[in-house]
């Protein structure tokens, strides 16, 4: 998860509190000592209790795929603490889900095994049309709203990173949600926040979770 860390004009420096809640990281900010749930992005105890951090959509992907999409990217430069997190890591289906929380209320998740079978899914969740795309090569999953100009779009996969919408046959980048060629060229689908998680960790943290097994259309 990536969060914006200015709250009421104050920049918070978040740190690992050393505590877990529902087996998930509890963060602490050094400015006020408030404790925050990592997965909820919400202050649970302390002076800022009840405050929600704004989550920024991010993608978990491979370095090569990210560089390709964002040639001007920078990268942080710290020593490595692990070597195992490569795209191979996620090739064990069933252990991982891509999960998200609809409007802070209902949690949904799609297993990696399902995503490998259906790398593009048009979904309807709580009445909201969303699009889930997956690139097996980079193991990158992305979530978007399917609404453009108050119309619900339905998408069809063309290739690993390309899709088209049924209504206008515009071709889109399925990782960035940007329309590339056709009547809607230049348009951008709204990105929604979702994360890759261990299946069990997600289910423990979100007991009300609904697993997605197939698309609606």
């Amino acid at each position: 998860m990536v969060y914006t860390t200015n709250v009421d004009g104050q920049i918070l420096h978040l740190a690992v509190s050393g505590m877990l809640w529902r087996r998930s990281l509890v963060m602490v900010d050094k400015q006020t000592g408030t404790r925050w749930s990592h997965l909820l992005g919400k202050a649970m105890k302390g002076p800022l209790k009840g405050t929600r951090l704004q989550a920024i959509p991010c993608s978990m992907t491979t370095w090569s795929a990210w560089k390709r999409e964002h040639p001007q990217t920078s990268v942080i430069n710290l020593t490595k603490t692990s070597k195992r997190y490569t795209s191979e890591f996620y090739r064990r289906p069933g252990s991982f889900v891509f999960g998200w929380v609809h409007e802070g209320e209902q949690a949904y998740a799609a297993g990696l095994d399902v995503l490998l079978q259906q790398p593009l899914m048009n979904l309807m969740t709580e009445g909201a049309p969303v699009l889930l795309t997956f690139n097996p090569a980079s193991t990158e999953a992305n979530l978007f709203s399917r609404t453009i100009d108050k119309q619900t779009m339905t998408f069809e996969r063309i290739s690993e990173s390309r899709m088209k919408d049924e209504a206008t046959e515009t071709v889109w980048n399925s990782q960035t949600g940007t329309a590339l060629e056709g009547p809607l060229a230049g348009r951008q689908l709204k990105r929604l926040v979702g994360i890759m998680s261990y299946t069990r960790a997600w289910e423990i943290f979100h007991p009300e979770n609904r697993m997605i097994t197939e698309q609606v259309q």
């Binding site: 914006t4 050393g18 509890v26 963060m27 990217t73 990268v75 692990s82 997190y85």
Partner: protein
């Protein structure tokens, strides 16, 4: 609130205005009274219906926050060194997983192999002019 009065509504004088005038309630006031009564009583009626939960927008009950401590608190990581894409050497391999973020058209990657182990799970940074925290 529904509009109760029509535009140009006027009080019409009644034919018998003597005895009844003391108890006379204008029609619009009666309508208002009925509507208020209905509005107030609807939730009460709904609450009394057997079986169903009341359909009022109730606050979702807060999950109980009971964290357990495993380790001492860590310092916050700030001022992380940054490299441009072309400055990165082969140490960062093509198939390594990163968390990629774009803020105000500025893109940055946070390799997960640099974010593992309790100390590194939160990276405070500034991207596209905005203070952010990338977490794992």
């Amino acid at each position: 609130m529904p509009r109760i009065l029509d535009e140009g509504c006027q009080m019409r004088s009644l034919p018998n205005t003597s005895r009844q005038s003391r108890r006379y309630t204008p029609r619009w006031l009666r309508t208002l009274g009925v509507l208020l009564l209905v509005t107030i009583s609807m939730p009460v009626v709904l609450m009394l219906l057997p079986g169903d939960e009341p359909k009022l927008p109730l606050q979702k009950s807060e999950p109980e926050f009971r964290p357990i401590r495993l380790l001492k608190e860590f310092p916050a990581i700030t001022d992380v060194p940054i490299l441009q894409a072309d400055e990165v050497d082969d140490e960062l391999t093509d198939n390594e997983l990163v968390i990629g973020v774009v803020v105000n058209e500025e893109a940055r990657a946070y390799p997960i192999n640099m974010l593992t182990g309790p100390k590194r799970e939160i990276i405070n940074d500034t991207l596209g002019g905005r203070p952010i925290a990338a977490t794992w």
